[in-house]
């Protein structure tokens, strides 16, 4: 049978974001999977160079609306390392708390999207209803439902509202009960297991070889988590478990995410109960950051987030570099797509929890041997950004 090319995207009901997946199918089977990213490229790293460190913080909040706190925390940890600032303990707890609440909301969001992709819309509505509990807490703590803007250089912008901790604990209890229900649903109810088991298989060796990260790697049995490997903020004080699963398919990814939500609820509860008193931000923070560079890692809901910041002693970052988790997971996803069925493509793409607004970037490959200088003019940047004819 002749091979047929099927484009998915840039506008497609299964995709939340504009990206193009070009699948070559032979009958029902995918034999070749290609993708074109870049529709969401906005030129963040370049525009960070024209902003002060604090303005860049709020710019980086808008790299991705779902893991906004991850990006800002990762960036701010690097900036504070360059500046040599030691932030108050309470600020660290609040950052951790917001980070974990964000993980809960992101994973519940993913669970809903995955339910939607496999035609299980009840799960979509259920998990998005439960997600509102977390968004309510986040709104009370930070003032906004998404893009919280709670981080600032030297601490956090707001304290936890007084006398509200009991309410939050109560909401977390309800949420934990609901998540136990989802875990039960995954293990005992046949629908999810029947639809997702064995689909889009990624072996442990392949996951390591292709540098998968986050829940995608953990579902293939790779125990990788920055919170364990290199604890930042207060993760070294908090007892929690690393969730892994050995099946390597989408079912495993679902289970890992649901169980991670339960772990995150425990961490959030620990943070609320053991919040140390005291200041929540430094009073004086230098406007100019001394010369230096730093590199920081953060376990975002989707995997390892990496930021690099370099300062030349001025008010603006000399260079701010972002490497988001979806970038790493793309290779493994595209590799595993080969050999899957075309009907599994939407859920397979969704199973890595893609976030293309984090991913899209311009990369220039420089040939060192040619000895040519690799400078690029500003107007050429927008030419590259356009990416040619589609």
């Amino acid at each position: 049978m002749a091979e047929v090319k099927i484009p998915i995207g840039p506008q497609h009901p299964a995709l939340e974001e504009p990206e193009l997946f070009l699948l070559t199918v032979d009958g029902e089977e995918i034999v070749k999977a290609e993708m074109r990213i870049g529709y969401n490229h906005r030129g963040m790293e370049k525009s960070a160079e024209f902003r002060t460190f604090l303005q860049t913080l709020y710019l980086f909040e808008r790299i991705c609306g779902i893991c906004s706190h991850s990006h800002t925390t990762c960036y701010i940890l690097a900036v504070e390392e360059v500046a040599g600032l030691e932030i108050p303990e309470r600020a660290k707890f609040i950052r951790t708390l917001v980070g974990e609440l964000e993980r809960i909301h992101s994973h519940l969001l993913w669970l809903g999207i995955a339910g939607h992709e496999i035609g299980f819309d009840t799960l979509f509505m259920y998990s998005w209803r439960d997600r509102e509990f977390v968004l309510d807490i986040l709104e009370e703590i930070t003032g906004n439902r998404v893009n919280y803007g709670i981080n600032t250089i030297g601490g956090v912008r707001r304290d936890i509202p007084e006398g509200k901790i009991d309410d939050y604990l109560k909401a977390l209890d309800i949420l934990e009960e609901r998540c136990q229900y989802y875990a039960k649903l995954a293990f005992e109810e046949g629908t999810l297991a029947a639809r997702l088991s064995g689909v889009h298989y990624l072996s442990k060796e392949k996951a390591i070889e292709l540098c998968a990260c986050g829940p995608m790697a953990r579902a293939s049995g790779v125990a990788t988590d920055v919170r364990f490997e290199e604890p930042y903020l207060v993760y070294d004080q908090i007892p929690f478990n690393l969730v892994t699963y050995d099946s390597g398919d989408i079912f495993g990814r679902t289970v890992v995410r649901v169980l991670e939500v339960i772990e995150s609820i425990k961490i959030a509860r620990y943070c609320l109960q053991n919040m140390p008193p005291g200041e929540y931000r430094l009073e004086k923070v230098p406007k100019k950051i001394p010369e230096g560079e730093a590199f920081s890692r953060y376990e975002a809901p989707r995997g390892e987030d990496v930021h690099y910041v370099r300062s030349d002693g001025g008010e603006n970052p000399y260079r701010a570099k972002v490497r988001a988790p979806t970038m790493q997971n793309l290779l493994a996803t595209m590799e595993s797509l080969k050999g899957s069925y075309i009907a599994d493509a939407p859920i397979a793409i969704a199973s890595m929890d893609p976030c293309f607004s984090c991913t899209d970037r311009i990369a220039l490959v420089r040939d060192i041997r040619s000895g040519k200088e690799s400078r690029i003019r500003f107007r050429d940047l927008s030419k590259y950004g356009k990416g040619g004819e589609r």
Partner: protein
């Protein structure tokens, strides 16, 4: 007589197409949140559609990037008349924090005509519902 019937149907069941033109996902999840039980825009007859050919209203989020521009025009042309465009979020209204970046053209109205603007970063579901209801009122006004 026939036209008033069509208008009545249009106001009672506007089908929307959600189209991310380079947003950071924040407005997108708020648009989706507006469809789910807490906010539930389906009570106004609003239904999310997958293809522009079935849609009456295009809900755009995010600034227009250079790469997405041609697709946006194509999606707009594929939508049958009469069509309405709602720009959700500050970026979609004006370009927001991304204004002036080398790969961003600005708001949605730089490329296609916009009927309703819903500002906010990110626009709350309440605001989105308010904007959509106002758009419906406008439609009703048009219907006479």
């Amino acid at each position: 007589m026939f036209q008033s019937l069509v208008n009545w149907a249009r106001v009672k069941s506007p089908w929307i197409l959600h189209w991310n033109t380079g947003a950071c996902n924040a407005c997108d999840i708020e648009v989706l949140a507006a469809l789910t039980p807490r906010f539930d825009v389906e009570r106004f007859g609003i239904l999310l559609q997958g293809t522009p050919r079935h849609a009456d209203v295009i809900v755009c989020t995010g600034p227009v990037t250079r790469q997405v521009k041609d697709r946006l025009i194509r999606v707009y042309n594929q939508t049958p008349d009469p069509k309405f465009v709602v720009a959700v979020g500050t970026c979609a209204c004006s370009g927001g924090v991304f204004r002036g970046n080398y790969n961003v053209l600005g708001g949605i109205d730089q490329v296609i005509p916009v009927d309703a603007y819903i500002p906010g970063c990110a626009a709350r579901p309440d605001a989105i519902i308010d904007g959509v209801v106002k758009l419906l009122a406008k439609l009703q006004g048009k219907a006479g």
